[in-house]
Structure formats: C-alpha cells, structure tokens
Symmetry: C2
Subunit: 256 residues, 2 copies
Amino acid sequence: MENEGVRARARRELVQRITDAAREQLAQVGAAGLSVRAVTRELGMAPSAVYRYFPSRDALLTALIVDAFQGLADAASAAEAAVDRGDLTGRWHAVFRAVRAWGLAHPHEFALIYGSPVPGYVAPEETAELASRVSLLLAQIACESWAVQQGATSAAGATDGHRADLAAVFAAETTQHAGDLEGDIRRLQGYLAVARPDLALDGMPGDRALAVVDAWTELIGCVTFELFGHYRRVIDARAEHLTAVAHRTAARAGVL
Amino acid sequence: MENEGVRARARRELVQRITDAAREQLAQVGAAGLSVRAVTRELGMAPSAVYRYFPSRDALLTALIVDAFQGLADAASAAEAAVDRGDLTGRWHAVFRAVRAWGLAHPHEFALIYGSPVPGYVAPEETAELASRVSLLLAQIACESWAVQQGATSAAGATDGHRADLAAVFAAETTQHAGDLEGDIRRLQGYLAVARPDLALDGMPGDRALAVVDAWTELIGCVTFELFGHYRRVIDARAEHLTAVAHRTAARAGVL
DNA sequence: TCCTTGTGTGAACAGCGTTCTCGAATGTGA
DNA sequence: TCACATTCGAGAACGCTGTTCACACAAGGA
C-alpha cells in the first residue's frame, strides 16, 4: 500500500514537473513552439521518457489546457469572492477585470484555450465543467440579482423607476427573437439547474440566461481581440472599454 | 518590357499556384499541419524551390492570411450589396449571416485570421486595411442610418415613438462610460473620416461608432465560439442566436 | 556573343515527434 | 529472502519538418 503510494507519488510529482516545465516553455514560445524535447532537456531526461507519462505531445498540451481553464477560473473566482456579496454589479465587474488581467498575464495560455483549437484535441468531459466555470460565475450573479429583485418588488413596490424601465426595454428587445431560441433557453435553464442546484433561479426569465451567455461571449471576445492585436489602432483605452462592456452586459442580464 | 513582362507573369502565376495549393492543404489539415514540403510535392517541385518566392513558411502563411481577410471581406461585401439599399437592417443582418457562413465554409482560414496569431506574424500595413473592411461595412450602414434619421427628423417630426425611445435609452446606457472612452471615440471618428470620406458622418454620435466596434467584436466572437466548439451544449440554434445578436447590436448602433 | 540575373535541383543539416529495445530499478507474492 | 512482474529511463533509430547551400541551366540585356 505504502509502497504503491510511494510510486504513485513519485509519478505524480514527475508529471507535475513535466507540466510545470512545459507551461514555462509555453509562456515563452507559445503552443506552436512547444517542444517535447526542449521540455525534457530542461528536466535533464531523455525525450522518450516523457512518453511514460503522456502518450503524445497533444496530450501534454491537453493537460496545459486543463490547467489554463483552472487558472483562469480560479483567478475570476478569487476576484469575485473578494467583493462584498451585496455589491452585485461590483462582482460582475470584478469577473470581467479578472479575466482580462489573467489574459494579459498569461497570453499564451489564454490563446491555448480561446484561440485556434489544437488539431488533435477534443475536449474531454472533465474540461467542459472547468470551461464553464467563468460563465457560471456570471450566471450566479445574474440569478442572485433576479432573486433580490423578486424579493424587493414583492416586499415593497418602491423600486428604481428608471432602472425598471430600462430592464423592461432590454427585455422587450431581447425577447423579440426568443421564440427561435426557446429550445436553447430551456436547455440553458436546465443546465443551470443541474450545474448549480444551489441557485434559486425559479422563474428567472430565460432571456437573462441568454444574456449571460452573450456577456461571456463578449467578454472573451474583447480580451481575445485585445490580446490578438485586433484592437490595434481601434481601441486604445482597453480597460475603460471593457468596463463599459461590463456595464452594458450587466444591465442586459438584469444585474443592476 | 514585354520580356520582363513574361518573366514577371510566370513568377506571378507560380506564386498563385503555390498559394492555391497551400490554401487547399490549409483547408484540409489546418495551419499547424501545413507543410511546405507537402505543398511542393503537390506541385511536383523541389522543396527548396518555394524559397525563391517566399522567404519562409511564415511568409507563406502570411499570404494566406491576407487572402483570408480578402475572402471574408468579399463575401460580406457581396452579401451586403445584394440587399436593397434602403433596407438598412437587412444589410446589417446580411453582413452577420455572410461572416458566419464564410466561417463555416472556411473554418481553418477563419481560425488563421481570428484564432491564435501565428508567432512570426506581425500584421503588415496592407493587412490592416483588409482586416477592417468588415467593420467598415457595418460602420457604413450605421452612418447611413444616422443620415436617414437626421433627414427624417428634420423633415417631419413624425418618427416612430417607440424606436426613438429605445435609441435614447441605449444611448443613455452606453454613454455612461463615454467619458473614459472619449479619446478612442475621437480616434474612431477620425479613422472613419479618413477611411471612408464618402460617408456623411458629420454629427453622428460617437457612441454609435463605438457600438459598431462592439458589434464587430460580438459578431466575430459568436462565430469563433461556434467554430471552436465553445457553444457545444450551450447554444444549439446558432443561426437564430446570431440573428438575435445582429438585431440587438443593430439597435444599439442606431440601425433601426 | 557574353555576362548577369533568375530559376530549379539535390544534397545536407539540425530539429522535431514518436517508437522500439534493452538494462536497471522497483514493487509484489511465496 | 528469493523469484517474478511491472515500471522506468536511456539511447538509438525512423521519418518527417523547415531551411541552406552549391551547382546546373535558361533567359534577358549589353
């Protein structure tokens, strides 16, 4: 037992050392330039040795992808958790800022998960859960907002008139095509109910779930465009721009 | 003269044959798997011969990037041009549909221009103009909408009340952070004035230009997410979803 | 006609991912 | 403790890659 434990631990540690060295090299030369041989050189081992732990270079890349999803989600979660629970828009903005900051700090890892998919890579099931953690964070904030608003209107009718109007207008706009998307909306709601049974999303309008998906798309799109150079000579004040995007998407998702 | 013309023509034709073969292989195996040797094999020439025409593999990829930008912009332009000039929302939607259709038809080329940037590639100046053609198309529609609305309100005060309210709400929402982005907005307006001096954009609110950039970001973001698999088990009705996005972004850009 | 220039070839080099074989080390059951 | 099984690392090898170089040949201009 303990012997097996020793073996397993040695193995786990070596896997860790390999992925660490690989991640370091990834940060320097990017996914395209990542070389198994260079990693083994760094570790002072034979190139063939790594095949005891990863069946192929793509598998090593997959491990880095999983790590990157984890890192991004952890960064977003930590930033969001540091905000006062009642400050719903503050939490929303914190997620946006954290995702951008992580992308700027780890551009190659960001490109690995949101850039061109690596050819041999088909997302394993475990990745799907990790990949959705950021959007689930946004969904949670939207759900809590909805719950708060439900409680407020039922308790006292004195809500902010302008805000309410705004939400109504947004809802009218976004539900215009909701008929075509009813299937997806139901799927999203069902998915939310399974993934986060702790959230009280009963009765939350489906278009808010859709607004969360769109907000997530726009968030990643903005950071991707900034990192990949598409905003060069177009948007200069990137942080301020993302703040504006966060504000707008929050409003549509009912995070007021 | 004509002799030189013969040489130059032969050279141009061979460059064309090389890029064609490369594009064909790109469509099959993607950018990562594109091999200079395979291209030369296809053409029945020595691997070293291609270096008379492209200094490196990255240069060949750059040529494909330029071609891809061209192809995408051409597809969007053609689709937009086929819509009745007065149907501004129809033209906006046509651009969205065409970009998505082109992406689905040429996924690897789309990944080449909007996926992870190839390491050795720094966008040459000529690319910048090509890259912005799609967003300029959207900008043009927004400008024409503004011009039409200006004419309508000055001619007769009888505009659609609901639409006007909606635009006002959107404007109020999006200008909330416009102060921070004033510099970028002015740059965008100046860029527009230079790139498309034919457009009468005098007095068009700056946040509409910003809305165009955001619409472009969201369009590419949606297509990217679909192509790269991030919408798997999230959004199923992709066409309908993009239609909804087009509708929403058009409204914010004042294309009503 | 000569000479420069452009073009294609084939060999070569270094590097890559991957496979295979072969000792050596390690863990396991008697 | 001994024998067996499993795991591990090393090293050589294969076929592939991008790229360079020297050389032969054709074309264009003087």
